[in-house]
Amino acid sequence: MIRQVNPVDFWRGIALVSIFINHIPGIYYSRFTHTAYSISDSADLFVFLAGWALRYMVGAPSSKMPAWYLTLRLWGRAITLYMAQIVITMIALAILAGVALWLNNPLLLEWHNAAAVFNDPGQTLVGLALITHQLGYFNILPLYVLLMTMAPVFVLVDRVSPHLVLPLSLLIYGLTLGFQVSIPTWPIEGEWFFNPLAWQLLFVLGFVLAREDGIGGLIRRHMQAIRLIALPILIIGVFLTYYGWWIDPTEVPTPKLYFLLSKTYATPPRVFQFLALVAVMSVTYPYIKQFASWLVEFLAMLGRNSLYVFCISSILSLVGQIVRFLYQGSVYIDTTVVICGILIMAFTAWLLEWRKRFNDRISLRVAASSS
C-alpha cells in the first residue's frame, strides 16, 4: 500500500531535488535552491526529516514493540543504509575510472577524494568499508548510518523518560562543540565532513518534534507565536548568507564552535536558523497543496522512496559534473542536466511504486484465489 501524500514526504522530495542540484558544484540552478539564501541547507532538512520519520518507524513511547526487536530493526535499517553507501561509492568510483580511461585523463581519478582509492587500494578499500574514507558529496549516508546506529539509545530513552531525550542529545552536542570532538578519517588524515556527534541534534530534534505530545505538542500549540519570532531570524539569515556578514571567526568567544557558522559541526546559529526555516515554511504546505497539487504529488513520490532516489541522485550529480566538465558548463548544459536528472529520479520513484502496486495486485489475486 503506497503512502498518502503528506508534508514529510513532500519536504523530503524538495530536499532530494535540492541536494541533487547542489551536489553539482558551479551549476547555474544552485542559485534557485534555498541553500543560496539560507545558513542551513538541504542536508539539515534531510537529517531532520530522517529523525521525524524515525518517530513513525518506532511508534509512540507506549508502543508494545520489544526493545530488542526495536534495536534490531533500527540496526537493520543502518545496515541497509550502509549497503547503499557502499554500492553508490563503488558505482561512483567505476564512473570516475571509466571516464578517466575513456578520456585518457587521470585527473578524473583525483576528483572527490578518489585518488587514494586508486593509488592505495589496499588501505583505502578498508577505509571505504569502514566508512572512514568518503568520497566528496558521498558523505551524507555515512552520517545517516551512524545516526541510525545511535538511534536505539534515543528511542529507548524516549520510552523510559521522553523528557530526557533532548537534554541527552544537547549534552552530547554541547560537549562535542565545546571540546571540538571529531570523528577521524582514514587512511587519509582528516575529519568527517558531517560530524555525527553534532548532527545527531538535528536528527533528535526531528524525532522529538514529531511527537504529538510533549515538546512537539507544545510547539504545535504555540506555532503562531513561534513563527513571529522565526520570521525575523529567517530574514536576517538571508542577509547574512547573501552578503556574507558574520563576525570574524577569530573574534568570537570561546568555545568558538558555539558561535561559528560551521556545516561540519552543525553549529547553533545554523540550527536556530534551520528551526526558524521549518517553522515559517511549514505554513506554506497547505497552500502549495491547494494551488500546485501536481507538484506536491510529484515531490512526495520522490520523498516516499527517499533512499533509492537519494542513491540515484548521488550518482546523477556525479554524472552531471562530468557532463559539465566535458561540455564546459553552460546554462543550456546545466538545464539539460537538471531536467534529465529530475526525470530519472522521478522514474526511479515511479518504478519502485509500480513494482509495489504490481506486487500488491498479485498478492490480492493469490489471496482471492486461495479463499
Binding site: 585527473l107 583525483e110 585518488a115 593509488n119 588524515e189 571567526p249 568558538k256 559534473q321
Partner: protein
C-alpha cells in the same frame, strides 16, 4: 707623533667599533641559534628522490613565511593547516597521506622542529566553500600556516575566473591580516589538460595572484610537466600517465617540504647552506 698616535688611536677606536659590532653580531647570531636549537637544513636534508628530480625548474616562488619563522623561533613548533585534495603515498614499507609525508620530511630536515599538520581537505570542494572553512579552522586551530591546494576543482567545475580570483585574494589577505602564512599549491599537470583553455587560465591566475599578493606557490604543474618530459626521455621509471599521477603525490610532499624550508630560512635571513638552490624562473 701626536698625529700618528691620534691616527692610531682613531684606527684602533674604529677597529674596536667594527670588531665589537662584528662580535655582537656573531654573539647575537649564536644566541639566536642557541635559543632556537634549530639547525637550518641544507637542501641535501630536504632531498628530492630520484623520481622527483626536476633539474633547474624552481619548485616554488621565493616568498617569505614570516609567521612560520617566528613560530619556529619562539616555540620550535609550527602548526600547518592543509586544505585540498589528498592522497596517500608510499615511503618504504609505510603508506600515509602526502601532507603527513611532508610533515615527516620537515621534521627530519630541521633538527629540533616539531611540525603539527592538520589535514582538513574535503574532496570536490570549490575554493569558495574551502574559503569559508579556512576561516573557521584558522579560528579553531590557530595555525602558523595554511597550505591550500586550490584551483583544480574550480577548473573542472568551470568556476568563473573573476569569482575564483576574488575568493583566493580575499582569503589570502584575510590570512595575512591574521598573521597566518599561506602556501598555495597549484594545479596538477595532465597531458590532456594542456589544451584546456580554462585549466590554463586558472593556472595563470594562481601564478598572477602569487606574484601580486607576494605569497608562495608550489609550482606543481611545472614540476610534474618536467617529470613527464624526463619520462619521455626514457630516464624515468613511470610507465604511463596514471602511474605518474600517483608518483606526483610523492613528489608533491617533497616539493612542499622544500618550499616551506626555503620560506622559513629566507625569512630568517639565513640562506640555506647549499648555494645551488633552485631559483624562481619567472
Amino acid at each position: 707623533m701626536a698625529k700618528t698616535f691620534q691616527r692610531s688611536h682613531q684606527l684602533a677606536g674604529g677597529s674596536v667599533v667594527v670588531l665589537s659590532t662584528l662580535l655582537l653580531s656573531v654573539l647575537a647570531w649564536a644566541q639566536a641559534w642557541g635559543q632556537d636549537n634549530v639547525v637550518p637544513p641544507s637542501t641535501s636534508q630536504v632531498p628530492f628522490s630520484q623520481d622527483c628530480q626536476i633539474g633547474d625548474i624552481a619548485v616554488a616562488t621565493e616568498s617569505p613565511l614570516p609567521n612560520v619563522a617566528a613560530a619556529l623561533r619562539q616555540r620550535k613548533q609550527i602548526k600547518i593547516l592543509a586544505f585540498g585534495a589528498s592522497s596517500s603515498v608510499k615511503q618504504g614499507p609505510m603508506r600515509r597521506g602526502h601532507t603527513e609525508e611532508t610533515r615527516q620530511i620537515l621534521q627530519r630536515a630541521i633538527t629540533g622542529l616539531n611540525v603539527i599538520m592538520i589535514n582538513r581537505g574535503v574532496g570536490g570542494e570549490l575554493s569558495s566553500q574551502a574559503a569559508e572553512r579556512i576561516q573557521n579552522d584558522v579560528a579553531l586551530n590557530e595555525p602558523d600556516m595554511v597550505l591550500w591546494q586550490v584551483g583544480t576543482e574550480d577548473a573542472l567545475a568551470y568556476t568563473p575566473l573573476a569569482e575564483l580570483e576574488t575568493t583566493i585574494i580575499d582569503t589570502v589577505r584575510w590570512l595575512k591580516q591574521h598573521k597566518v602564512d599561506i602556501v598555495l599549491v597549484g594545479l596538477q599537470y595532465v597531458d590532456r589538460m594542456e589544451r584546456d583553455e580554462h585549466y590554463r587560465a586558472v593556472r595563470q591566475l594562481l601564478n598572477r595572484i602569487s606574484a601580486s599578493e607576494n605569497v608562495m606557490i608550489v609550482r606543481r604543474y611545472e614540476a610534474q610537466k618536467q617529470l613527464a618530459r624526463t619520462q619521455l626521455n626514457g630516464s624515468n621509471p613511470f610507465q604511463d600517465e596514471f602511474e605518474r599521477s600517483e608518483a606526483g603525490y610523492v613528489c608533491l610532499a617533497q616539493y612542499l617540504a622544500r618550499a616551506i624550508t626555503i620560506g622559513i630560512f629566507r625569512e630568517r635571513g639565513r640562506p640555506l647552506p647549499n648555494p645551488n638552490l633552485p631559483r624562481p624562473s619567472n
